[in-house]
Symmetry: C2
Subunit: 163 residues, 2 copies
């Protein structure tokens, strides 16, 4: 488990091989088993494939192209009980997605939905006003093994009882 956490890398080049429905369901289950503020579960997920995926990528062009599928993680502001915490719920769910993807030998990268693109994404996917796109995670088999890097552990970022 620690190895999965520590060996995860961002993957931005993908094979065209499809991702199975079972894998997608397992990944979404991992997402929804994240913790959330007061168990509010202020998240929703839109699976993007085919033509819609291509249209999404034309709007949010910070996300890499080439993956056969992607998950758009969205804040559900109607489910949010604690103002501002849907972001934290969605971030925890997104991190679970990345780890579940990596555990399956698939690859992904966490990409932001920039504020200036939210309106266009909302229109493309017919999202209601209480649903705010949060992050997009393309998923596919890696086209190459990402280079190893050393651990990011930095002792200077660890403090004991005071700064």
């Amino acid at each position: 488990m620690l190895d999965i956490i520590n060996s995860r890398r961002s993957v931005r080049k993908f094979k065209t091989d499809p991702v199975s429905e079972q894998d997608l369901t397992d990944i979404l289950e991992a997402a929804m088993n994240a913790p959330s503020a007061g168990n509010e579960q202020a998240w929703q997920f839109v699976v993007l494939q085919g033509e819609t995926l291509q249209k999404y990528l034309a709007i949010n062009n910070n996300a890499p192209k080439g993956a056969p599928v992607g998950i758009l993680v969205c804040q559900d502001l109607q489910a949010e009980k604690y103002a501002g915490f849907a972001v934290q719920d969605c971030a925890a769910a997104t991190q679970n997605i990345l780890l579940a993807v990596h555990a399956k030998g698939l690859g992904s990268v966490w990409t932001a939905v920039f504020p200036q693109n939210v309106a266009d994404v909302r229109t493309l996917l017919a999202l209601p006003e209480h649903i705010t796109p949060f992050a997009f995670v393309p998923i596919g088999y890696p086209a190459a093994t990402p280079a190893n890097r050393s651990s990011r552990y930095a002792a200077a970022r660890v403090h004991h009882n005071k700064w």
Copy 2:
């Protein structure tokens, strides 16, 4: 790995047994191997023990008492390259902490640092202005095995190509 993600539960009652330094280091390494926006790593960690831990818990009394140690995850606003994204970095790091803890047979719970308590926490720990406490995670051996619950997977939260 999926089992670790799906079987994680919030633990709020702890044994007094100490957490080893090696376990703490491994947990902090997992935290720092989270992804972050443009690899900004806008996080810092304060390990709280002993008297300081008790003082912290008197301020932020939403966190359970009884754990021998805890990690305060903080936003580092000097390291933040993309405004607002330190929260996402810290949430991903916090989720890695919860998973690493669970993988080791330890227990934890993600607790919020409420805005009204930030100033007092800052004073207690001598945090500089650019360091904002984000979440506190008490860590210890669980005093009891949390009850099983069914998976939170909810098909109604999965949408395909449009809402």
